[in-house]
Subunit: 249 residues, 2 copies
Amino acid sequence: GKSLLLPQNEASEIKHVIGVMSGKGGVGKSSVSALLAVSLARAGYKVGIMDADITGPSIPRLFGLKARPEQFNEMLLPVKTALGIEVMSLNLLLPEEDDPVIWRGPILASAVKQFWSDVAWGRLDYLIVDMPPGTGDVPLTVLQSLPLDGLIVVSSPQDLAMMVVKKAIKMVQQVHIPVLGLVENMSYLACPHCGERIHLFGSGHVADAARANDLRLLDVLPLDPELAALGDAGKIEEYSGKAFNIDPV
Amino acid sequence: GKSLLLPQNEASEIKHVIGVMSGKGGVGKSSVSALLAVSLARAGYKVGIMDADITGPSIPRLFGLKARPEQFNEMLLPVKTALGIEVMSLNLLLPEEDDPVIWRGPILASAVKQFWSDVAWGRLDYLIVDMPPGTGDVPLTVLQSLPLDGLIVVSSPQDLAMMVVKKAIKMVQQVHIPVLGLVENMSYLACPHCGERIHLFGSGHVADAARANDLRLLDVLPLDPELAALGDAGKIEEYSGKAFNIDPV
Ligand SMILES: Nc1ncnc2c1ncn2[C@@H]1O[C@H](COP(=O)(O)OP(=O)(O)O)[C@@H](O)[C@H]1O
Ligand SMILES: Nc1ncnc2c1ncn2[C@@H]1O[C@H](COP(=O)(O)OP(=O)(O)O)[C@@H](O)[C@H]1O
Ligand SMILES: [Zn+2]
């Protein structure tokens, strides 16, 4: 049918739009979005993150962002992180970061569209779109309205998580947007006391699913208490762990 | 304003309705709902679980349920687990458990209402309602339409998780439904190699939030690889861990 894709506004010049989704909550979509943006920024790319998890936004917290977005010519200006990543999130617009957003579908969908049409993103090599869990209004609006070049699908190792993640993969295949690959997160933990590897949630399910769906396994990330602590402290840009080796520009 | 609460249908006689929510995905709402139902059933209560996570349902998987619900007099009959817990979930009605449900708000809301009005729950002491993440259509419909006696709020220890969970607590306070207490899940892990306790996500945040909001801390559950494995295998009823000590009927 007719394309629902929204054009870029005149204050944005975005080369690539990449969605990060999973279907399942709590597997690390926001953390993976943040780590990917940090790796791209460190490699010299100009990067933005759209926090499309409208009712559960965590990107500002991961980067320790407190400033309120300014307005310029009827547009919202994104807030910059320490590394210069441009961020827009509903949590930047609320009086308190723990205030609830109690909206139904149509308003959630229009908020996503405004984050695309009414934000002056400027010149970006990559805009990462951090999507909420589920396959409802917001993921659907993102897939239908934003000109996505591709999607990164995140899962934790459990069969249960992969079952729900497969729902997202099937959804994406219906709208014909390429899946760039899978990321397995929380894959294992190195015991801080004895150094042994612990596979908390079993192993191999994500690699199997990647093979079965003819998808690439982009990265396998450990469960690292340092990452959780840095995220809580708003310092995810200081994470020393290896994620997404990007060749410099 | 006018009450939106739906009456029980003539094939249901439910004494108490308890919602399990968190706002944040992946913190263990479904696992806590399942463990609570199992403890109640083992203590002799008649229990049901409504899986209100319409686009990411995991209750049938946790209990290894594959049977399709039967119909009787225009009503759906719930599917029984090994311990006799009555379950209704969208995943029991799909052709494949990993098929996506791509619905927008109004249809999601009506699915929740049908799980209340069109299901013959029979005589139950407790109906546990496992809610999806976020504060959108489905949580709002559950809070407005179902006669909830109270809510159990689940969080993992991270500050980031608690920030999003506080949104759910504030939402619930606006609709004046009592919070029965908080559950901290994935609190620590006992290393299977050296036995030392590992606090993966820091500690104390949930207990602090319980005190600050004048709420009870109902239980603190460890991250236990056995629980994840049994959940993946559909055998959560065989979990040997201690959760929710319920006095026998
Ligand atoms: N690899 C990891 N190691 C340690 N903690 C992690 C990891 N990935 C995510 N987390 C933590 O788990 C929680 C959930 O992650 P988040 O990125 O918010 O998931 P999602 O966006 O899928 O809901 C956060 O507190 C985050 O800091
Ligand atoms: N205490 C725990 N120990 C080990 N694994 C857990 C624990 N709680 C939850 N899990 C696992 O983590 C995943 C997410 O839990 P789930 O109950 O689905 O969370 P939610 O309903 O909040 O999304 C599941 O695979 C589950 O088996
Ligand atoms: Zn150890």
